[in-house]
Symmetry: C2
Subunit: 276 residues, 2 copies
């Protein structure tokens, strides 16, 4: 899904919601455990119930890897079930030297090689350009680079002064030279809404993937106020508050209700900002 | 394998060699393709031929992930074949928030959950303490934190001035507060041997995992001169120059010859430094 198609989906659905599939087999409704692939069965029903209300799905790779072969199988099934009207974004936070990054790109972008063909992947910046370029050699795919994350540990290094700015701003400035806003997005946590003004100076038109709304305490209103651009420019992720809205048989309907609430808030915000 | 056991293995084998299992199915001898799991068959023969000459094996996770389910299966089989006399180190460069890091720890440390029980994992520092602590909650396991890597892109961020030192030095100083030298090692590329003097000021007793000798051009002599401590303190990795020494049926014997050359060099270096 390219930038233009993403913007079209956002305007059509009046939503910039990304649903995080941090699916933990210990937290899904018990009746699903009778299925051959319970985690996929859960994800499938979540996707079927919400795909008209969101523009992206973001499986968190760790939750699948923790279950070994069975988990990898759930991830493959899930990737294949994400509809074309939604961006498939694997949250894997990979980052390595060139030939290794090429292997990671095959793992998540090359269906013939691994069974998976996501549109985008989260990448860690510490090792620099070699960690990013090999992913961009896959036509039409996105790198979503960590800039300012929502966790407490982000203060250890991301806020370090690197001259006249902070490290996360230097990461954005540097990566802006590696590819355009049609190939790179940045991760910026919703818990850092006071920093969105600065982020938008460094990345005025880039899409930002924003985790941390909901369970982690970030405010959608604040993120939208400082983060929205004329093309929207935001993908706001919510995981637990949607997928675990209920632990009963009604989990998918309740997930839809939570997604609908966020979509309706997003619709109002986009209208206020004259995006739709 | 704890620090004392690692030091004992090093002294007994007179070696601080880590063999990198960056096993690419397109580069292994053709006759292995007839086996059910060719990559594991390759790794098994490499391990069987070299385990008395090295103290660690380091599979590179990307090479396995790129092949989807089949690759994950090869990685599981390989992890189970690493003998107790060698550190099993998964080169996965993970790094995420707390609950996600716990899932990655389960993936690579918890055999019941994933089928794999490595002793150590490489971790990226960008997201800070949350990326490290959950791994250390697994008793006896190691985090091998990226500090100064061997690739060109390391210059993008790792050398940034953060006041009176560079970012990689700040990463070491900060992580030294998170756990002792019996739980954390640092990655320092062999191509940066001029920096080992500075690294040893920040991490005088820590084990350093040193990639980049051999194919990437780093010098074992230089690394040893500035990097060796009284307890050795180094794990020098070599991948391609050992595992791809021959592409014929003699690949395992040739791998042993290459490993033996390095072990013999390491033996001399340790004698010169009065370690053995």
């Amino acid at each position: 899904m390219n930038r233009q198609q993403l913007i079209e989906q956002i305007k059509q659905k009046k939503s910039f919601l990304c649903v995080g599939l941090d699916t933990d087999i210990d937290l899904i409704p018990g009746f699903l455990l009778e299925y051959a692939d319970p985690v996929f069965e859960f994800n499938k029903r979540i996707i079927d119930a919400t795909h008209d209300l969101c523009v992206a799905y973001k499986p968190n790779s760790a939750f699948y890897e923790s279950r070994g072969i069975a988990g990898w199988q759930s991830l493959i099934h899930t990737s294949q079930h994400i509809p074309e009207t939604c961006l498939g974004l694997i949250d894997a936070k990979r980052g390595d030297i060139g030939n290794t990054s090429t292997m990671y790109a095959k793992a998540f972008f090359d269906e013939k090689s691994s069974g998976m063909s996501f549109d985008a992947i989260t990448v860690a910046p510490y090792m620099g350009i070699d960690s990013v370029k090999p992913f961009l050699e896959f036509e039409g795919k996105w790198v979503v680079l960590l800039a300012l994350t929502s966790n407490e540990g982000s203060e250890n290094f991301q806020f370090i002064n690197t001259g006249d700015q902070r490290l996360f701003e230097t990461v954005i400035d540097t990566a802006n030279d590696w590819a355009g806003n049609d190939r790179i997005m940045y991760v910026v946590g919703a818990t850092r809404s006071e920093e969105f003004i600065s982020i938008r100076k460094h990345a005025p038109d880039h899409f930002l993937l924003v985790p941390g709304v909901g369970a982690q305490g970030g405010s959608l209103q604040d993120v939208a106020r400082y983060g929205l651009t004329k093309d929207c420019g935001l993908l706001v992720n919510s995981s637990r508050s949607i997928i675990y809205a209920s632990k009963g048989e009604d989990f998918a309907e309740r997930a839809r209700e939570e997604a609908l609430k966020l979509q309706q808030e997003m619709c109002v915000l986009m209208e206020e900002h004259n995006i739709i």
